[in-house]
Amino acid sequence: MAYFVYLFMVGLVLGMAVVAVNLSPYFAAFGLVVVAGMGCGVIISFGGSFLSLVLFLIYLGGMLVVFAYSAALAAEPFPESFGTTGAVLYFMGLVGVVGVFAILYIEEGSGLGGCSSDEVMGMSSCVTEYDGMSQMYGPGGFLLVLCAWVLLLTLFVVLEMTRGSSRGPLRSVK
Amino acid sequence: MVKFLFPTLMLHIHADLTNYRLMTLITQSSGHRLMIAMINVHLTLKMAQWLDEQHLNPYMAQTPYLPHFVLLTCWLLPLMIISSQHHMATEPINRQRTYIMLLTSLQFFLILAFSATELIMFYLMFEATLLPTLMIITRWGNQAERLNAGMYFLFYTLASSLPLLVALLLLQNTTGTLSLLTLQYSNPLNLSTYADKLWWAGCLIAFLVKMPLYGAHLWLPKAHVEAPVAGSMILAAVLLKLGGYGMMRMILLVLEPLSKELSYPFIVFALWGVVMTGLICLRQTDLKSLIAYSSVSHMGLVVGGILVQTPWGFAGALILMIAHGLTSSALFCLANTNYERIHSRNILLARGLQMVLPLMTTWWFIASLANLALPPLPNLMGELMILTSLINWSPWTLALTGAGVLITASYSLYMFLMTQRGPLPTHLIALDPSHSREHLLMALHLLPLLLLIFKPHLIWGWVS
């Protein structure tokens, strides 16, 4: 089980490295999908089934549709991909640096993180998670309202930023 | 103290509200100022007579040598207004008002600076005088170079005086007070480290640049040349003296232990500057620049007199500062009378003026003789006392000071002979005769100087 968790973590870092090497946006979006998926795995392995569900549904289901759409906006005839040597070298460099730091800084036998992997699978963490979700509607109500307000605000922000019929539709000039 | 501050403030209102029917605004305000000066004379003498704690308050006070400077300020400000009359005559009335308000605020800050007993208060006002002066130079100057001159003026002064602020704040941390009244009773500082020497320099360099010391004097000729006549007058007469005054205050109160050795290079520099700026004067063709360099030269003597720190040195510095205040101001006024007629500061263009302006030649004569320190004049008293104390310090200074005195005499006579004697150039035949206003101005400068011959201990300070 622990090997899976390590695999998820390595995947997390590798996916992020793909995002970071500045390929064409499709590849970055793909990297982000990988990161989100691996993140789900990591969270699940810590016992956060609801949190990982939220991540999976909202992130992969909602966000990446928008990104795919926007990648189309930024479409280019000759996308930069892993075929270019610079990108590969950059990627290898990033991963190599992270690997060196991992060897240097990860302590031996420190387990996974906050608590030991036996406890991770236990029932207590699941209970706290659902407790927390229900607290969101009680003591955390202020934050909920605040988030709703921010979402409304974002609506206006997006409207204002993209307003103006005179300036033409969404387009990309090559 | 309020006795002169309040009338000075009233002058603001006066300048703003007056509608001028019979007298011009300028004469009214100069009359007002002369009244302030008279109050000040009264108060000066009162102070000198009953110098006690009655007249001291925690922030403002008068000290034995202070009233002279306040008196000089109050005396010169009306003269500045009178001298600017021609310069301002073509301006609209609102600008005249602004100008007079500027001069008034300058007087206000100067009085506060001279009478502050708290060192930070002194510093604040020392800096506050920069602003009106800067505006006088850059707003009412004549040539485009005035902007550059204003920059030089502001940046030389500020770059040297910001370390002073830090040094004062450090002093406050050490002694717990910056009041001049209590500082003299605080324990002598234990200054031994290298940082303390830097602190000493920080305390003094602001004033040395303001004086100005040779080497840090470049702002002065520029500012003098570009400023209108009132700016040159106040710079030469009072603002340079602010540096001397500050040095006297600082060096007597707090810098004592280190000054003995550390002031050597500055004395040497000052005396070297006396000779060098004198030599520069000898080959000047710009009249205002010549007078400005002569100020630097005289101030070098003052610096030397203060830095040797003997009672005679201080008294000599005080006398020379007062006398030079009147003399250099008078010379700038005279240069301005030339400038108003010939529209040039060049000496070569204004020669032989005795033929057309004979009475003015008399004033030129007296002013030049005062500048070269002819025997009965207070200038000589000051120079002699400084020279004596410098010889007492080291006989070798005689070489520099003697050469300085000789050169001073030479360039003063050169200036007089070039401008007044000789044949009149043919392009100078349609000059205005000198006005009563100008004669009044010169009389108000030079008669006090002459009267001081008869009662010199008014400006002698400690030595009596």
């Binding site: 997390l12 992020m16 970071a20 966000m63 990648a71 800084y105 979402l151 090559k174 | -």
Partner: protein, 98 residues
């Protein structure tokens, strides 16, 4: 340093590196930003799960909501930039240098 701490820290740092050294597409910069927020989400979730803290286990959801807002605003900016500059390339954003 525990593995999970290292994992999300390096993921965040990689995202930041991508954002800082990014010179091509505005969209890629936004994706990097999004990746940074994602790693913060993972960090927050694992922290609250690891600590067993009930009250902070809802925090990742708020983080996700706000970062979604941020992403939305970023996309709006992308559209606005595409309209005014004709492209989303970051090199074309050079009008303000003089």
């Amino acid at each position: 340093m525990t593995p999970i701490l290292f994992a999300f820290s390096s993921a965040f740092t990689l995202g930041l590196t991508g954002l800082v050294f990014h010179r091509v597409h505005l969209l890629s910069a936004l994706l990097c930003l999004e990746g940074m927020m994602l790693s913060l989400y993972i960090a927050l979730s694992t922290w609250s799960l690891g600590m067993g803290s009930a009250s902070s286990s809802a925090l990742p959801l708020f983080l996700l909501a706000i970062s979604a807002c941020e992403a939305g605003a970023g996309l709006a900016i992308l559209v606005a930039t595409a309209r005014t500059h004709g492209t989303d390339r970051l090199q074309s954003l050079n009008l303000l240098q003089w």
